[in-house]
């Protein structure tokens, strides 16, 4: 479990992370979202001791990362895919990491096979594509078989096969009870993987909870109904205190109740239904809504839009 309490980081006058508190639970994939410059990478760097908090703390299993005697057994991290020396082979890169903890060649080969780089174990990392570098970064994170995995933009550069592999890998790790915490700008991908979300903007917490809760908080679920008796159904729903918006002669948008409840009302009124569809905002729409006032860097075109 990752717990951030009042985490704050200032560089001079600039506050990059501002009193950030959140929890990442084990057994689930948690997405870490925020616009560029929101403080995601700084938060992750503070988690592994690369940056020092100005105030507050962030812990893994109740302990600071720096205080762990066997850090790679607790936390596997990939902050930058290109963090292997380009002149070093993939195998040697993993051995450089593993040998600090007495982890040997057999485990290095094992994780290379796991990420699909077994055939290029003796190739230099400098010759790797971005996708291969991502896989090497993930192998590095996995070498100690950690209970917590933290990945910064792990999907970047992966081919469709790689994205599918990573999706299955992360879900499986979470199912095994591990804590999986990853940042990504690919909302469509995150919506497929993540169960929980932590959304930050300008260093502050904007939202956290399950994906459904976060989306629901900004755009409540609605039910779209197409019926020739739209007026009668609208009246029946409104009599029960349900919010109804009429889009055209045949279409209603009903919020504040489920599609099942709308179906029951329609049946009671003897109203014929052509369509009964639950609609909710996408993760991307929710993200844009949540962060609309917390975007650090925007182009003139974005502002005009």
């Amino acid at each position: 479990m990752i717990v951030s309490q009042n985490l704050t980081k200032r560089y001079g006058e600039k506050t990059v992370v501002d009193d950030l508190s959140f929890t990442v639970r084990p057994g689930a994939v948690t997405g870490f979202l925020g616009p560029n410059g929101a403080g995601k990478s700084t938060t992750m760097r503070m988690l592994v001791g690369l940056d020092r908090p100005t105030r507050g703390e962030i812990t893994i299993g109740g302990r600071r990362y720096q205080d762990l005697p066997d850090p790679v057994r607790h936390l596997g991290v990939m902050l930058d895919a290109r963090s292997a020396n380009p002149g070093r082979t993939a195998l040697n890169h993993l051995l450089v990491v593993g040998e600090t903890h007495g982890i040997g060649r057999a485990r290095a080969h094992e994780v290379l096979e796991m990420v699909g780089l077994g055939a290029v174990a003796d190739k230099r990392a400098g010759g790797f594509s971005l996708g291969m570098s991502q896989r090497l970064g993930i192998a590095t994170a996995l070498i100690g078989d950690p209970t917590t995995l933290v990945l910064d933009e792990p999907v970047n550069g992966l081919d469709p096969d790689g994205v599918l592999w990573l999706r299955h890998l992360l879900v499986r790790l979470a199912v095994e009870g591990r804590t999986v915490f990853l940042s990504s700008h690919l909302m469509s991908e995150l919506s497929l993987i993540a169960e929980d979300l932590v959304v930050i903007g300008q260093g502050r917490l904007l939202a956290s909870g399950t994906v459904d809760d976060v989306i629901e908080s900004v755009a409540p679920q609605t039910t779209r109904v197409v019926t020739p008796d739209a007026g009668r159904l609208a009246d029946a729903a409104q009599n029960k205190g349900i919010d109804v918006r009429r889009a055209d002669d045949d279409t209603l948008f009903i919020s504040g109740c489920t599609a099942r409840e709308v179906g029951i009302i329609a049946a009671a009124e003897g109203v014929t239904l052509y369509e009964l569809v639950t609609e909710r905002a996408s993760l991307e729409e929710a993200f844009m809504h949540i962060t609309r006032n917390a975007v650090e860097y925007t182009s003139h075109e974005e502002v005009a839009a």
Binding site: G87, V96, E99, M114, D145
Partner: protein, 270 residues
């Protein structure tokens, strides 16, 4: 590029894996061995030293004639060339990590940082020491075979007239490597560290007296190279001071540089 999915319960990991001093040393050793530019620089330092010294020993003109003939360890006069390359080697052993971004991996794996710094210093200094001793032994044997330096003919390597000069020359090689490592940790940048070394420590003793007030011009006597020259003399010179003060000067530089580098590594963001 198909990848397996199995992740749980790896048979290749046992309980009890943790950071150890031996592990950090093995990791640093692998870092040096696995980067071509590093071991090529190291090789160049000793090939250059052995090659130039061997030429002088075999030729005999310089070492066997006039005043030099009375100095049995005169062949170590080329060692400063090797030391220069070893300073660069020491700097590169650190700066390559910063330049490639792999320092983030190193500091994440060993987040207390001090261990990484000590392990790198120990490995670089250890390798340079072993190779320096081997170099001295090889050149001594060559000296005995060629017999081009009359004062050294038949003299044991451990004869005081030979030993202290040879030891001083030999130790300057790992000293240079360690000095480079500490400069590397302090500046994190190869160009900056090498420029600082050449500009201040190598050229400084010649250039600075021209700019400094006469009262403080003697400060250059306390630069590392002045102390190294005392050590290399094997007791033949006590100018500007003797062996013990020279050792104190050399150790003080390491402590000051190392302390500043450690503070920067420990206190500032990685």
């Amino acid at each position: 590029m198909s990848a397996a999915l199995a992740v749980s319960a790896p048979a290749t990991l046992q309980a009890g894996h943790r950071i150890t001093s031996a592990g950090l040393l093995r990791s640093e050793w692998r870092k040096l061995c696995s980067i071509r530019s590093l071991w090529m620089t190291l090789t160049a330092a000793f090939v250059l030293t052995i090659g130039l010294c061997a030429y002088m020993v075999i030729d005999g003109t310089t070492l066997g004639g006039a005043d030099a003939a009375h100095i049995p360890f005169g062949w170590t006069g080329i060692y400063p060339v090797g030391m220069l390359v070893l300073v660069v080697f020491g700097v590169l052993s650190v700066s390559t990590e910063y330049a490639s971004g792999s320092i983030r991996t190193s500091l994440t794996v060993a987040p207390r940082r001090t261990g990484v710094m000590l392990a790198k210093a120990a490995v670089v200094t250890g390798i340079a020491t072993m190779l320096a001793v081997a170099t001295t032994v090889v050149l001594y044997l060559l000296l005995q075979v060629t017999r081009t330096v009359p004062s050294a003919v038949g003299m044991s390597l451990f004869d005081p007239e030979m030993f202290w000069g040879a030891l001083g020359g030999t130790l300057m090689l790992p000293y240079g490597a360690l000095f480079g490592v500490l400069l590397g940790w302090l500046l994190r940048n190869a160009a900056g560290a090498i420029c600082l070394y050449f500009g201040l420590f190598q050229m400084g003793p010649q250039i600075l007296p021209a700019f400094l007030p006469e009262q403080v011009a003697g400060v250059t006597d306390y630069m590392p190279l002045a102390a190294i020259n005392v050590m290399r003399s094997g007791g033949l010179t006590t100018e500007p001071y003797g062996t013990v003060p020279a050792i104190v000067v050399l150790v003080t530089w390491l402590v000051v540089l190392g302390g500043m580098a450690w503070r920067r590594l420990k206190k500032f963001d990685g």
